[in-house]
Symmetry: C2
Subunit: 326 residues, 2 copies
Amino acid sequence: MTEIQALADRILAGDRRALARAVTLVESTRADHRAKATALMEALRGADRQALRIGLSGTPGVGKSTFIEAFGMMLIEAGLRVAVLAVDPSSARSGGSILGDKTRMERLSREKGAFIRPSPSSSQLGGVARRTREAVSLCEAAGFDVVLIETVGVGQSETMVAEMCDLFVLLLAPAGGDELQGVKRGIMEMADLILVNKADGDLKATATRTVSDYSGALRLLRKRPQDPEGFPKALPVSAVEGNGMETAWQEMQTLAEARKTSGWWDRRRAEQAAHWFEEEVRWGLLQRLHTDPQVRAAMGERAEAVAQGKMTPDAAAREMLEHLST
Amino acid sequence: MTEIQALADRILAGDRRALARAVTLVESTRADHRAKATALMEALRGADRQALRIGLSGTPGVGKSTFIEAFGMMLIEAGLRVAVLAVDPSSARSGGSILGDKTRMERLSREKGAFIRPSPSSSQLGGVARRTREAVSLCEAAGFDVVLIETVGVGQSETMVAEMCDLFVLLLAPAGGDELQGVKRGIMEMADLILVNKADGDLKATATRTVSDYSGALRLLRKRPQDPEGFPKALPVSAVEGNGMETAWQEMQTLAEARKTSGWWDRRRAEQAAHWFEEEVRWGLLQRLHTDPQVRAAMGERAEAVAQGKMTPDAAAREMLEHLST
């Protein structure tokens, strides 16, 4: 496929339009597009470029867009290229998207060194995540230095983003002690860095207190043996005023370096790749039930027999599984 | 298998010890047990007995155990046989169980007409739900009139319970207007009946107000065409004092009768059976990846190649899927 090789070459040259086209290609569910996407990913595999992949989660209202805009601009000004992708489970249902509107990050979206892409819409969160994972690889091949993968604080999507990033950052609002309970323990355990946003104006004192509350909460979790002393940690930031952003970025780099030095980084990336391979196999297997006409007919027949009470679900499933394995 | 036929006969005779043994059998993941379980379910299929299957959801602290105890005792006193099963996703992880301790329902558990069974523990919620669905069928075959399927208010488990019950009841605590927001819309939409518990003592007035708040909220949801006027509805109950329990039971019967008359009941049961068939096929397909030694080896080889960066996850998955379909 010379067409695919040409696209790969343009991506490797850092061409943003080619990157955008490639992301659209990997998001497509058409069989011919899928085959091309697989070929493209293989063509880019050798590039061996790594960005720092940062997962960023935070519930609506916490100022995530403002944070990404300010954080992204800071990186751009430091001469880095920044991609922003999103895994948004609500877009899976509504077709809407947390990143649908580039006006959310008006300054960043005008920068040459930035690439902003809304969440793919798909009927399943798994599909959204699988395609975003490929978009992350495409951004790396295109030479981006930092890839931010944004998601909303609702559990399942965090778990998936954690499987495609090197660092996980949780952005939270200043809150009273009681509200700390609202952060699910599972998400807290994923965080390498908790940033308490809106540490400015009237909320500054509350933010400081919230940081120390979260610091206390984090100390109760087990320390990760691969990380330097003090991680995971909580810090105050103000996306509006820009305070604390540099410190946050330094902490991220410290953690990333330590993980590279210890070998954890490479091991984790290898594990993640294996994870997505298994995920693709699982998805592909289930997909056959819906796409292969013969399999569909066999499923339909037995579903009908089960609905009519002529077979139990279990016996029909056993029969179907035998049918599939011959 | 005469052993299985003997077990089936004892279940059909209403023998609770045989029922308990059968539930243990369907919960087992051993291949030989699974084969026996399938045979047992087939042997019981002809029985064609139907219980009223009531899904019951409510967050911890709402008084669910007290409600089930009081509601169950009322049904027992009316001459009915009552089974209580549970789908508890937390038991999937911790091995603990919301129904592990029969002292939770001390009076009910001593009744001859009652059968109480904790949630099966399994590494996956799907596994918990699939086995509970079979336990429900076993209770029906054993001649129980009402099967209560209890779960906690956390989303996914509700959806699964809704796929195995005829009526879905949501048990809630009296609450201020703000807290109404806490009930996820998806779960609200599943409810046929919202019962506001603790409508007694100091909380009586709050409970009455909460009922009218929920009634208002329910009116905003689309009415289900299969149901009589006024459903879904909210009612106050006091599990401690026994108030409102009779009314709640009457409403459940009214709704069940209407659904039977309209044909919706049978259609829904047929759909549910087909759903579980598909679920069993999906699960069985994925299971092969872990159980079949040849498939496992082929998966392991490719996962290794992906981890070493020799193949992309996508290309390796394609190869694996081709390998599986030949």
